[in-house]
C-alpha cells in the first residue's frame, strides 16, 4: 500500500480550509503513472476529488501538477515502485486554486494571447499560392519549440514569475514568442521584438534555469530565452544605428 497525500481545497465554501488528505492505494492493482492513481482514487475512494485530465499521454498539458515537489504532467510521471514512502500531490505553485488540483489559468492564457501566437505576413499571397514554404534548415530551428503543450509547469516554477506575474510574461509564453520571432515565414519579427521590450516583459528573465529543469516535455526554455534576449539586444542596436545615421 502506498500513501498519497493530496491537496484538498474548496475555496467556494467560506468555512473550508486547505488541507492534505491521505489516500492509500495497493500498487499492484493500479497503473504505472500518477494519473492512474488519481483516477483510481476518484473512481473508488473519493469521487469529490477534482483534477484536470484529458489525453493521458502528455500531449494535452491538462494534468500539470506538483508531484513530490516537482512540477510534472501526472500522466507521464511514473510512480516509483521501490519508494514506499508517501507521495505528495499539490496544485501548481503560485497559481490561484479553483478546487483541489485545478488552478486558474486565465491569466496565463491572456498572456499567451498578448504575444499574438499566429503567422503574420506583410506580403499577400500570390495567385495560386497555397502554403508558405521554408527550407529544411529554417524548419529545424523550430524543433524543441513547437512541442510545447502550454501546461504552465515552467511558468509556475520560475522565481521571476512568482515576483512579477503581472508584468513578466514567463518562460512558456516567451518561448512561444521566440518561436514566432525566428520563424522564417513570419514577417513581423521587428514588431514582435519591439513589443517584447517594454516593462520587464523579457528583461525579468535572469537565466535561472528552473524552467528547463522542470519541463515535462524535455524542452529547453532557458536557452530559447537566452537567444531571444540576444536577438532583442541586436534589434535595439540596429534601431539605434538607424536613428543616428538619419
Amino acid at each position: 500500500m502506498k500513501r498519497f497525500d493530496i491537496y484538498r481545497a474548496n475555496p467556494n465554501d467560506p468555512a473550508d480550509r486547505p488541507k492534505y488528505v491521505s489516500y492509500y492505494i495497493d500498487m499492484n492493482k493500479c497503473g504505472p503513472m500518477f494519473l492512474d492513481a488519481l483516477i483510481k482514487i476518484k473512481d473508488e475512494i473519493d469521487p469529490t476529488l477534482s483534477f484536470r485530465r484529458s489525453c493521458r499521454e502528455g500531449i494535452c498539458g491538462s494534468c500539470a501538477m506538483n508531484i513530490d515537489g516537482r512540477h510534472h504532467l501526472a500522466c507521464i510521471c511514473p510512480i516509483n515502485k521501490e519508494n514506499t514512502e508517501k507521495s505528495q500531490i499539490s496544485p501548481l505553485m503560485f497559481m490561484f486554486v479553483l478546487k483541489d488540483l485545478v488552478v486558474d489559468m486565465s491569466h496565463f492564457y491572456a498572456q499567451y494571447k498578448s504575444i499574438e501566437p499566429y503567422l503574420k505576413r506583410k506580403t499577400p499571397k500570390t495567385e495560386g499560392q497555397r502554403e508558405y514554404y521554408q527550407s529544411e534548415e529554417d524548419r529545424k530551428l523550430l524543433d524543441g519549440l513547437y512541442e510545447c503543450v502550454l501546461c504552465a509547469c515552467c511558468q509556475s516554477t520560475c522565481p521571476s514569475y512568482w515576483w512579477h506575474p503581472q508584468d513578466y510574461l514567463g518562460p512558456a509564453v516567451l518561448m512561444q514568442a521566440y518561436r514566432w520571432v525566428i520563424d522564417s515565414r513570419d514577417e513581423y519579427t521587428d514588431e514582435r521584438l519591439e513589443k517584447l521590450g517594454g516593462d520587464m516583459k523579457l528583461g525579468e528573465c535572469y537565466q535561472i534555469g528552473m524552467c528547463s529543469l522542470t519541463c515535462p516535455k524535455g524542452l529547453d526554455p532557458r536557452r530559447a530565452l537566452e537567444h531571444l534576449k540576444h536577438l532583442y539586444v541586436e534589434y535595439k542596436h540596429r534601431k539605434e544605428a538607424e536613428l543616428t545615421t538619419i
Binding site: 475555496p11 467556494n12 467560506p14 490561484f96 486558474d104 486565465s106
Partner: protein, 81 residues
C-alpha cells in the same frame, strides 16, 4: 478622524466604484441590473468573518473575471443566479 481602511478593503471599494462607473455608461435595463448585482454581492457577503482573507480575495478575483467578461462582450442584459 476618518475611518482607516485596509488595503483589501480599498481594493474592493475601488472595484465596486469601477463597476458602478461602468454601469452608469450603459443603457437602462443593463444599468440597474449591474447595480443590483454588485450591491447584492456586497450585501450577501456582509457578515463574512473579517479575517477570512482567502475567501474574500477569491470572491474579488472571481467578480473581476466576471466583470472583464461583461466588459469584453456586447451584452444587453444579465441574469445571474
Amino acid at each position: 478622524m476618518a475611518k482607516k481602511y485596509s488595503q483589501l478593503q480599498i481594493k474592493i471599494l475601488m472595484f465596486y466604484r469601477d463597476y458602478l462607473k461602468y454601469a452608469h455608461t450603459k443603457p437602462e435595463p443593463l444599468r440597474s441590473q449591474l447595480q443590483t448585482y454588485a450591491r447584492g454581492v456586497i450585501e450577501k457577503n456582509r457578515d463574512l468573518p473579517k479575517r477570512n482573507f482567502m475567501y474574500i480575495e477569491l470572491l474579488l478575483r472571481m467578480e473581476q473575471n466576471k466583470f472583464n467578461m461583461i466588459k469584453q462582450s456586447n451584452v444587453d442584459s444579465i441574469n445571474f443566479k
